[in-house]
């Protein structure tokens, strides 16, 4: 199936989100759609899948002009979208999800036998026969849930799949499985639009790439004939300099010393030290227990064994409040559910942690608070028209900077970072790396968990690798290779 979108425009009120954007994809092609957050990728895909209607432009499928007015019509045209937040109903079984809204039935009574049979067949066709059709969908791993979504789309005869950040929550192994499946679908002539920020993956799996910037179409390239630098240039419209800015300051004395740390179930025998001005990267597969180390240090998970010294003084670690008082800060993995109060303003979020600092006898001084927030906005280059705007109106990168602001109102001694650039576009990432470097230069000891190996390798002084709750490697970043880290992360090497 060939889909050609031409001159697509869309405005929400006075805001023009898309201006005469072109996009074309053919059957048997995996086509990356890239652009910074707010460039218009999601809007374009929502128009293609019938969620929004375009204000202008045309869509042709196999040469025939079509009008896509609803998601139902998009489905009828063979277009399906696999959302980043998976849309399965967690309490229903896999097969009930697969057949939701079109259950095989006789006189209104569901034919479960037939449903089970067809569900098994569909899953098997994707090589996902390890998924039990009667299992509760919510109990499957994210990767398996995604398989079910894809099976559901194909069961409705989808010929064009739109995948929005499909690998964001997958383990390396699941990503391999997904890519294998995508290759198989491609061979069957399915067209796949792949929306992602992960450059390495795009260069690994995609055939072509289209780039949007500020709602305009910048260009299309054949993957084999382009490179990282060109794509980044197309996305940001300027040179961003180094993708990973360099840090010059040398680490100082040991700040944080962890020995034999264990929590109730996820991690055991974790020992490391971080110096002032040093970034310790923590690598490992999803679910290896990286975040749990940070949570235990921050007093969220109970510590069952081990000692933690900060500047030589033992820490109790029994609550976030105690951790904050001791000088720890924690930028959490999921900023929407854990980092920000979305309905509150930029100002209220930025001062959430250290609010008592601007208060006397529990009464907040507006002037002191506003002044501090203005300083943080300036320091972190948070782009917002007004500190009183709701934080959810900001772009992902700027939201993440507000999370940083929350912790920097009073400089921490130790900064724990969990996936600090997830969902942040290229330009925003570079700015966050700058912030990390500034903090390191100011003597903060930083522990950074990240799933993006290039990020870990470029930003860290040393790299701690975790596999199934135990540490399997501790590398100097200068001498580590992607291979040696992955070997330790998958438990196939015994370094350290």
């Amino acid at each position: 199936m060939n889909v050609v979108m031409q001159g697509i425009s869309k405005a929400f009120g006075p805001v023009r989100v898309l201006e005469e954007v072109d996009f074309a994809i053919a059957g048997g092609e995996i086509h990356a759609l890239m652009g910074e957050n707010g460039a218009g990728k999601s809007t374009l895909m929502k128009i293609l899948s019938g969620v929004y209607r375009s204000d202008g432009g045309s869509i042709r499928i196999d040469g025939q002009p079509v009008e896509i007015r609803s998601t139902r019509q998009a489905e009828a045209c063979g277009i399906a979208i696999i959302h980043q937040e998976l849309n399965l109903i967690p309490q229903l079984s896999v097969m009930e999800n697969l057949f939701l809204g079109r259950e095989p039935s006789r006189f209104g009574v569901i034919d479960s036998a037939r449903m089970r049979r067809e569900a098994s067949a569909q899953l098997a066709a994707l090589g996902a026969d390890n998924i039990d059709p009667e299992a509760e969908a919510g109990l499957l791993s994210i990767g398996q849930q995604q398989m079910v979504e894809i099976a559901k789309a194909l069961a409705m005869n989808a010929r064009l799949l739109i995948m929005d950040e499909p690998t964001a929550a997958l383990t390396e192994r699941e990503i391999d499985t997904l890519f294998g499946l995508m290759q198989a679908l491609k061979a069957r002539g399915v067209a796949i639009v792949y929306v992602s920020h992960r450059m390495e993956e795009i260069f690994r799996i995609c055939d072509k790439i289209s780039v949007l910037r500020d709602g305009r179409f910048v260009g299309e390239r054949v993957i084999a004939r382009t490179d990282f630098d060109e794509v980044v240039r197309m996305m940001v419209g300027r040179e961003i300099g180094d993708r990973f800015p360099r840090r010059t300051a040398a680490p100082g004395a040991v700040r944080l010393q962890v020995t034999g740390l264990a929590d109730a179930q996820h991690v055991r025998d974790i020992s490391f030290e971080v110096r002032a001005g040093e970034v310790l990267g923590v690598a490992g597969l999803m679910g290896a227990g990286r975040s749990e180390i940070l949570k235990t240090l921050f007093g969220l998970n109970r510590r069952c064994a081990g000692a933690v010294l900060l500047d030589g003084v033992a820490l109790e670690l029994d609550s976030p409040g105690a951790a904050i008082a001791a000088g720890l800060a924690f930028v959490t993995e999921d900023r929407k559910s854990q980092g920000l109060v979305l309905g509150m303003s930029v100002r209220e979020n930025a001062t959430l942690v250290h609010l008592p600092q601007y208060a006397r006898l529990g009464v907040v001084s507006d002037a002191a608070e506003q002044q501090a927030v203005a300083g943080l906005i300036e320091q972190l280059r948070i782009r917002t028209r007004d500190a009183e705007l709701e934080v959810k109106s900001l772009s992902g990168g700027n939201q993440q900077k507000v999370v940083f602001a929350k912790w920097l109102a009073q400089p921490p001694k130790v900064l724990l970072l969990d996936e600090p650039t997830r969902g942040v576009d290229v330009g925003g990432k570079a700015e966050i790396y700058h912030i990390i470097n500034q903090l390191a230069a100011a003597g903060v000891a930083i522990v950074m968990v990240s799933s993006e190996l290039p990020e870990v390798m470029a930003m860290s002084n040393r790299i701690l690798v975790i596999h199934e709750g135990r540490q399997t490697g501790l590398f100097e970043a200068a001498s580590a290779t992607q291979e040696s880290i992955m070997a330790a992360a998958t438990g196939t090497a015994h370094a350290a």
Binding site: P320, A323, Q338, V341, L352, V363, D386
Partner: protein, 312 residues
């Protein structure tokens, strides 16, 4: 209109509704717009408003407190029993309000430490406390306190004009508005209601916040009980049933979101006044009390629907 102006207008919705309804009633009934009648309305509203102020905090947390009416009843009969046992009336009142706070604290403990859903926890305590009120009073009203001071608390007037319950209401309005808008505690209430997980991770002691909020709600219910008991010169174990719904209606009419994190005390005061003005006006117009209920329900529904459509 900038988004900020639009938001402000949106927030003033309850106030505008109150003005519109009042103008309408003033046109329809010559008795409505008199100082005496307006003060009368405010006096009638005060009990609901006191409870609703506490309820606003609870709802801002994303919770609900169904036990307010039962707390009102139990603290009323407790105060009455103490006074009749010879306690100083002011001391008895103070003990009653503290007692109401402790009943609220119990709710808070069950909710924060026992991890029970607020609806269930307060449904249970509503029943328990109502039962205790009947036990303490033996099932019948406790009447006659023989204390001028105590009857002043709910029945007196300042300068022979302004009912004392109205003064309580305005003082508490000021206190709660200040608490929410200006203090660290207030900010933490909004943060906890808006995103409990993020608040906890930011070092906000969310359990403590919950305990305080339910305690305040209990104390405010007891205070409403003081006003009621003093005015009637009688404490009734069955008093206050259904008051939780009036309070919730006032909070919701005021624009506070039932999912938590968004709302304000001024809106709640407007909501309570709107309900009071409607009651009063419909009485003045001689509308049957059966129809009054229908009209009140429709107004609540309309107000919330308008509020919703404005948010889209």
């Amino acid at each position: 209109m900038t988004p900020k102006q639009k938001a402000t207008l949106q927030r003033l919705g309850p106030f505008i509704a109150l003005v519109l309804v009042s103008v309408g009633l003033a046109v329809l009934s010559p008795d409505f717009l008199t100082v005496a009648n307006l003060l009368n309305v405010m006096r009638q509203v005060s009990i609901n408003a006191l409870i609703a102020f506490g309820m606003t905090l609870v709802i801002l947390l994303g919770g609900i407190d169904l036990s307010v009416g039962s707390i009102l009843a139990l603290s009323s009969v407790a105060i009455a029993t103490l006074i009749q046992a010879g306690f100083n009336p002011l001391l008895a009142t103070l003990l009653g309000v503290v007692g109401g706070g402790l009943m609220g604290l119990f709710n808070g403990l069950v909710i924060s430490k026992g991890k029970v859903a607020p609806f269930i926890a307060t449904l249970a305590s509503m029943t328990i406390l109502r039962g205790l009120a009947l036990v303490v009073s033996g099932g019948s009203p406790i009447t006659g306190f023989d204390s001028d001071l105590f009857s002043m608390l709910g029945g007196g007037y300042v300068a022979g004009l302004v009912p004392i319950p109205v003064v309580w209401m305005l003082i508490m309005f000021g206190l709660f508005a200040f608490l929410l808008k200006k203090t660290v505690f207030g900010r933490h209430v909004y943060a906890t209601g808006g995103n409990e997980e993020a608040a906890r991770l930011s070092g906000v002691k969310v359990d403590q916040i919950k305990l305080w909020v339910y305690t305040l709600s209990g104390a405010m219910s007891a205070m409403a009980g003081v006003v009621l008991t003093s005015r009637l010169n009688s404490a009734q174990p069955t008093a206050g049933s259904g008051y939780e719904l009036d309070a919730i209606a006032a909070v919701v009419l005021g624009g506070t979101s039932l999912t938590g994190g968004r709302g304000w005390i001024f809106g709640t005061l407007m909501g309570a006044l709107l309900i009071g003005v409607l009651n009063n006006g419909l009485n003045l117009l001689g509308v049957s009390s059966f129809y009054q209920q229908v009209i009140k329900g429709v107004v609540i529904l309309l107000a919330v629907l308008i509020d919703r459509s404005g948010k889209k």
